[in-house]
Amino acid sequence: MAAIANQSLTRRAFLRVSATAAGGLLISFYLDSPLFAQSPAKVYPPDAFVHIQPDNTVVITVNRLEFGQGVQTSLPMVLADEMDADWSHVVAELAPAADVYRDPFYGIQMVGGSGSIAHSFQQYRELGAKTRAMLIAAAAQKWNVKPEQCRTELSVVHGPNGQSLKYADLATAAANLPVPETAPLKDPKAFRLIGNDTRRLDGRPKCDGSLKFGLDLDLPGMKIALVAHPPIFGAHPKSIDDKAARSLPGVLDVFEISTLAKGTAVAVVADKFWTAKQARDRLQIDWDSTGLQPADTPQLFDQFKQLAATPGNVAVSRGDLNALDTAPTDHRLIAEYEFPYLAHTPMEPLNTTIRFDGDRAEVWAPSQFQTIDQMAIAQTLGLQPAQVTFHTEMAGGGFGRRAVPDSHVQREAAQIAKRMKGTPVKLIWTREDDVQGGYYRPMHVHRVEIAIGPDGLPSAWRHVIVGQSIAAGTPFAAMMVKDGVDRTAVEGVADTHYDIANFHVSAHHPEVNVPVLWWRSVGNTHTGFVMETLIEELALRAKADPIAYRRKLLKPEAKKTLAALNLMDQKSAAWRKQLPSGHAIGFACHECFGTGVACAAEVSIENHRPRIHRVTVAVDCGRAVNPLSVQSQFQAGTVFGLTQIVPRGAITLKDGSVVQNNFDGFTPPYIADAPVAIDVHIVPSDDAPTGCGEPPVPVISPAVVNALFRLTGKWFRSLPLSNI
């Protein structure tokens, strides 16, 4: 990252760009939350987003983390298109933490909620258009012509009399011009990059080992820290014997730090990873877990099921539920679902490097939450955020795990850096720390009672959801928890697009001594599963075609879901007619984060497991900025979604401790678990673009389980799937 830092220092001589953020939305969104009370930068300071180098390379700064979702390519595409930059000479860099890089909608610098393109598409278009207008103005002045007489192409301004100047040759002059209030945006018909399949800018360096992730950071004099975490969340060391650990050459220090869930952990700092690992293994710690709830998975499911039998805090209530009592018994359906905790396990283990110099600190972190992590580090070190220089490092996945409201990894790293003042220390969470370290997709129980009308459609629906609140106790509670209901637990049910007149959804949020967190697509992981398996079941009971049944039950305003459903129907029609024997199809559709998705999965059973031969996915995400990237997100996100049905796709607890501790115990999908073929189809659209990171996840598991019903006659309602 050193090269990038140097570039930043020299950037001020070049182009100045400014624009206005959509601040109004932010204020209403975060009004109640003191953490976010400060409004975002209303005016972007000069040179924050575009830097034209003397060789005509255009460096575009990306205001959020790249961790696989492709935003480091798509946002530069948007800016470069409006700017008419030569794409073959565009370079992207990740922005450090700074107010100007806050998400225009969320008001903090972050990635989440599939917001990257949805929130910054307009922002980056305007930035590109203003940059272009300033370059044209500079050229027009130089040639003494009117700006309207100039045109731009491939990083060159052309004048009316055959003149031409490269952007690089105009940058200094343009930088001295006032930033226009507005600049005309392109007619979408004139887009040259937006809407075209574009390979990732980071493709090659991720294939030759040259790209540096946060974990790859190397600084002069840097040391490595590992932390021994309590075996039960919130426990404290009663006694520590660190003699054997300290006797290892290379071990610098062993000390207690506060850790997640208000517990106390033991940090080991050493010269190398292997030294720190061996030292940590040699620590003998007696832990005190007095007064802590010993979470236990079977007991929790029992408790959750008891709660599910009673109504919780009401999320939505309309019509009446009389039909639940009056419908004939063969027109009633009662279903209970179990979902375990799930770990994110991004491939790059969690890490943060900090050097604390007393009155300032420098941080290198693969973070989805720059603003929050920077504040947490500043607070831990007794500094102001402005005294903490925060570099955003490329991250090896995240799926929500690098967006933690309490910044527990950064707080650990900051305590260690404080003790090791003057020495840069990289804190590494090993895979064991990660798998056992909490912040899981919460476990849930759903209980649903449905009355089926004479037309086969649901005439009344009572739905109780039991699971921990993700937002409670965090700064996000103010906007996410309403009337005792965490909306991330009920999203996908409470806001369903199915037209169910008599509908009651409520939620219980028991407290459990296990930290929980958003996991790619958040509540939709379980709510989508419940809704789509139930709708398929209702369709099959009604002896209806499941696609036609959904079409009939979806409200007309569910335009995106319907468009995706219809496209999926059309694109899978041919292969659905030619199923080999022993194969079956399941369907699902779901809308979340503004994107409608539908899929059909062809499944057989091999060795008591579902074998997924083929999946057709259709998506309506508004305008697809980079269709190639949309396709990739939906192919790979489909595989990610299978995490919840693979046999070892569960985190369980026994006597307060997590049972699994690495990929041998918590085992996400490998290549043999993945579909052999996934074809992705995008609904053509001129609507504003919506997200593609989270929406691929919810549909595949219900589609597979729906296919399994056709093969086995059984509805699988407890995840992960045990042997079939």
Binding site: G68, K206, C207, D208, I671
Partner: protein
């Protein structure tokens, strides 16, 4: 501490480390070759895959003391090889990567596969690549890129 002479990507390298140190950490910390990744430390994910005497090997569980004089090839050197280059090119042209963290290991596993089977079937691919985890889930494109590289090499 012991001294070892390792042959890595055709070059001789001297290191002095604890004999139990896994090759992975010798590469990453002693030699600053960070293209080989730490994912699990128990040979369960394949992010640390390198070639040891031509065999795809999990460097996270191979103590440096057991390497001996076997030549090591890492992601940084695999492009010097015709098969390695073809696989890297196919990975780029098929736009395989997302977060990219596992892809060094995936590429090393794919090169080993194509060196032993020039035209692998889907089942060959699943067997050879079966222990390499991609949390993003890029397997569809990994499969396609192996086939693309295979065609180039035939």
């Amino acid at each position: 501490m012991e001294s070892y002479t390792l042959t890595i990507n055709g070059q001789s390298k001297q290191v002095t480390v604890d004999p139990s140190t896994p090759l992975l950490w010798v590469l990453r910390e002693e030699l600053k070759m960070t293209g080989t990744k730490f994912g699990c430390g128990i040979s369960a994910c394949g992010a640390c895959t390198v070639h040891v005497a031509g065999i795809a090997t999990r460097s996270c569980v191979l103590p440096v003391s057991l390497v001996g004089d076997r030549p090591i090839v890492t992601i940084e050197g695999i492009g010097q090889d015709a098969v390695g280059r073809a696989v890297q090119d196919a990975w780029v042209s098929e736009d395989v990567v997302q977060c990219g963290y596992c892809q060094s290991g995936q590429i090393m596993a794919a090169v080993a596969l194509l060196k032993s089977i020039r035209k692998p079937t889907d089942s060959n691919i699943e067997q050879s690549m079966g222990g390499n985890l991609c949390r993003c889930g890029t397997y569809i494109r990994i499969r396609q890129a192996i086939k693309t590289a295979s065609q180039k090499l035939l």
